[in-house]
């Protein structure tokens, strides 16, 4: 164990633990968009979690998600310098994602109502106006779901996120983890009839599994297969292809009906 100071508070931590993680655990608020506890390695793309690090007589500004804790570190999360850069970054985000309410709310917390920068809205990009390219959706799809259905396209200011060649991608299992993890609610999909349509991902269509009892679609079929394959728990045949609602009915019936009868 080592000890470091964040905003004056003495905190114990494991050596090498990332400072942002420590701060979150300790209830110290550092804004961040591209960090998520689901991932072991930090990504460092949003830059909002910058802090001032004082160590050995010198100080510098660095991102706390990538910063590994060392004995005697002194961290300040809201110096005027840090706030200044964070505000400017938020202005850049406001120009990039003018349609995102989450970005607006975050900016308002720092007293920013508008941006001095030119707003861009790429109407051809289904994520345009909301996506800030933090990469969480790509990482979730690749590292956690292991589907790698989406990725970055292009580079520099032309960067966007979608399926390869903007074509429907059969690798997508329709799990929606991308939409779930997105900090700016940029990703959308809808369930229509027996299909899930990933509107953000080149309208990739995924079949939905139909409940064998009530006939209603209840989950993307490839996701259902993946869970079945990965899970160590084998449900009884009776409930395996049944939607959650019908399952509840079956299980509750079982509970009220004693086995002996």
């Amino acid at each position: 164990m080592i000890s470091l100071r964040i905003d004056g508070r003495l905190i114990k931590a494991e050596e090498g633990e990332r400072v942002l993680q420590i701060a979150i655990r300790e209830g110290i608020d550092i804004p961040h968009l591209c960090y998520h506890e689901a991932f072991e390695e930090p990504y460092g793309s949003c830059r909002l979690c910058i802090v001032e690090l004082k160590e050995g007589g010198s100080s510098r500004i660095t991102t706390s998600c990538t910063l590994m804790a060392r004995e005697g570190m002194e961290i300040k999360t809201d110096t005027p310098e840090v706030i200044k850069h964070r505000k400017l970054l938020l202005e850049l985000y406001l120009a990039q994602a003018p349609l995102s309410n989450n970005i607006k709310k975050l900016a308002e917390r720092y007293g920013i109502k508008g941006t001095r920068f030119h707003k861009t809205l790429n109407l051809e990009d289904p994520l345009g106006g909301k996506c800030i390219l933090c990469g969480l959706c790509i990482r979730a799809c690749r590292e956690i779901i292991k589907a790698s259905a989406i990725g970055y396209i292009g580079r520099g200011e032309a960067t966007r996120i979608n399926t390869p060649f903007l074509e429907e991608n059969p690798d997508c299992i329709g799990c929606g983890s991308c939409a779930n993890i997105c900090p700016t609610e940029a990703i959308s999909f809808e369930d229509r009839d027996k299909r899930r349509i990933m509107r953000s991902w080149s309208n990739t269509q995924v079949n939905l599994k139909i409940c064998k009892l009530c006939g209603h679609p209840f989950t993307p079929e490839p996701l259902w297969l993946k869970v079945k394959e990965k899970s160590t728990y084998t449900p009884s045949e009776e409930i395996e292809e049944v939607c959650p609602n019908c399952r509840i009915k079956i299980v509750s019936k079982r509970l009220v009906k004693p086995y002996s009868l």
């Binding site: 930090p42 990504y43 460092g44 793309s45 949003c46 830059r47 910058i50 500004i61 991102t63 998600c65 990538t66 590994m68 200044k84 850069h85 400017l88 970054l89 850049l92 985000y93 120009a95 990039q96 001095r116 920068f117 030119h118 861009t120 800030i132 390219l133 990469g135 990725g151 970055y152 292009g154 580079r155 520099g156 200011e157 032309a158 960067t159």
Partner: protein
């Protein structure tokens, strides 16, 4: 043949020396990319035809580039026993005249740039001879006079596709010395003593970097040569590889030995096809001669090199992006730490150095760190190659000791701007560098002085700009470059540079306001401070330095709108 001992090396050297200055007339055409672009291949063919029709035993060969780009195509000729002569602007139609003269022991005077009595390859000296005393000496020629060649010691003199010529001028003797007389620690110590700093631009002490990588706990280590040169107007590395690939390879083998790596990778941009093909030839030759591969010089040290071609992204010159690219990922930088020295390629400790850094190594090992440290200044030892381009009369690749003043380079070597124009500024360090105004050209070229005036050493691009250049346009040009080449991973670089270019274009269109200038400065500071990698951290430099030194040009454009 497999080289196993120093005697083997010496035997090859003896044989190859005959090619360099033997009993035959030698005609060597400068066939690096710059020469080829000005028609050197046609010149080579014309000589070939001429020699065939003369039926004389004349040795026609190709060499790399001696750096005097303005005078291309350059041909050098050696008449046995006489000085080597550098001929400039040779056209195919000149070949027969030159040949006729050579047979009579003479050379057309109007083609001669200078003569070389003796060439110091540092590990070996070649004495050509006297003669042509009416022609100025190499060391008295303004373009060459202030230069000192360490990295380019062989460039333009030896055939880069012939390992034997490299051996003739002392090649692979440093490797022999390192493997047979030195421990890896001793090699690192020697590099540390030399004071050599990374020539890719950041100037990190090379010996220290090696030591950190060597000491990182691991079963495997890698070394990488960064040959992804991409700054606009910079072509030092290209020439180093095209003209003397073995120097790089020998440097890397020594580095592999010192660091404890078995594999080296040269990451070279695909836009350098000639450099790639010469490197491939050189690697194959080294393997054939047993200088790469298993049990080099009969020791238990084994090492090999492979080439990885870049796919056209500037950011892959950044080391973590380069590692990602080699691993088959998109070239996007990764957060540091962990630094490559601890966790690099395939998660193993990795040492990355620029081409030029590696090329210095054989000299340091052979001549000693002490010798090297006396060149240049105290904390900036050795030389640096610059591509002197833009509005300058003597365009070319120049190698000068660190600490040489910018004035000396721009005026004494480059002879200032053409057409009687005045020099306005010099842009150093590529798109991440800064514009240094004429008034500050007294500063010495070293890592610290350049940083002090808002620029960086960078890899060695040096663009001279005359009084007719608009500095706001210059800043916009470099920002458009970095904005396009930004990988797009982190927001300040991707979004910030895009907005910066917007503002600059607005000002250039005459629609800027005084608050735009303030916003530019504010934005620059945030991009510099918060960007993930070196690209973003330095990209605002052209804007910051032009605002600092040429504010009136911005104000003039803004005033027009008010």
């Amino acid at each position: 043949m497999r080289v196993r001992s120093l005697d083997d090396l010496k035997a090859i050297a003896q044989r190859a020396l005959e090619k360099l200055c033997g009993r035959r007339i030698r005609i060597a055409v400068g066939l690096a990319t710059c020469g080829i672009a000005t028609g050197a291949e046609e010149v080579y063919s014309a000589f070939l035809k001429g020699i065939e029709s003369l039926k004389r035993d004349i040795l026609l060969t190709k060499v790399g580039c001696i750096g005097y780009c303005r005078e291309e195509p350059i041909v050098n000729v050696v008449i046995p026993g006489k000085a080597l002569l550098l001929l400039s602007r040779v056209r195919p139609e000149d070949a027969s005249e030159i040949l006729k003269n050579l047979i009579d022991g003479d050379v057309p005077r109007e083609k001669i740039v200078c003569r070389v009595k003796e060439w110091d390859h540092l590990l070996e000296k070649i004495h050509y001879g006297d003669g042509f005393t009416d022609v100025s000496l190499y060391e008295d020629t303004p373009f060459f006079k202030h230069q000192r060649k360490i990295v380019l010691r062989n460039a333009g003199i030896i055939n880069p596709e012939d390992i034997e010529e490299y051996i003739a001028v002392g090649g692979y003797r440093s490797l022999y010395k390192a493997l047979t007389e030195m421990t890896p620690e001793m090699v690192i110590e020697e590099v540390k003593r030399s004071g050599l700093r990374g020539r890719g631009g950041a100037g990190f002490p090379t010996g220290l970097k090696w030591e950190i990588t060597a000491k990182s706990e691991s079963d495997e280590r890698y070394i990488i040569c960064n040959a992804d040169e991409g700054d606009p107007g910079a072509y030092m590395n290209r020439n180093e590889m095209e003209s003397d690939p073995h120097s790089l390879i020998e440097g890397m083998i020594i580095g592999g030995y010192a660091i404890g790596a078995k594999e080296g990778i040269i990451y070279v941009r695909a836009e350098y096809p000639l450099a790639i093909s010469r490197l491939q030839i050189a690697i194959e030759q080294s393997r054939r001669y047993g200088l790469l591969g298993e049990n080099i010089f009969g020791t238990d040290f084994s090492f090999d090199i492979r080439i990885v071609k870049g796919a056209g992204a500037f950011v892959c010159g950044e080391e973590t992006a380069m590692i990602a690219s080699i691993e088959g990922e998109t070239g996007r930088p990764r957060p540091r730490p962990p630094f490559p020295a601890e966790k690099g390629l395939w998660g193993k400790p990795t040492n990355i150095n620029n081409v030029e850094t590696w090329c210095n190594i054989p000299v340091i090992v052979y001549k000693g760190g002490e010798w090297f440290s006396k060149i240049g200044t105290k904390n900036n030892t050795g030389t640096k190659v610059f591509s002197l381009v833009g509005e300058v009369q003597r365009v070319g690749l120049v190698e000068v000791p660190l600490g040489t003043s910018l004035k000396r380079i721009v005026y004494d070597i480059g002879n200032g701007c053409p057409d009687g124009l005045k020099v306005k500024a010099v842009q150093i360090g590529g798109p991440s560098g800064g514009c240094i105004p004429e008034g500050l050209l007294d500063i010495p070229v070293d890592y610290e002085s350049l940083k002090e005036v808002g620029s960086i050493m960078g890899s060695g691009g040096m663009v001279v700009m005359s009084e007719r250049t608009s500095m706001v346009e210059t800043a916009a040009f470099f920002v458009s470059f970095t904005s396009e080449e930004s990988c797009g991973k982190c927001a300040p670089c991707r979004e910030g540079l895009k907005q910066m270019l917007n503002i600059l274009n607005k000002i250039l269109m005459g629609k800027g306001s005084p608050s735009d200038l303030e916003l530019l400065k504010e934005l620059s500071e945030t991009i510099k401070t918060t960007s993930l990698c070196g690209l973003g951290q330095t990209a605002p430099n052209p804007v910051l330095t032009t605002i600092k030194y040429f504010k009136e040009e911005y104000e003039e454009l803004i005033k027009r709108y008010d």
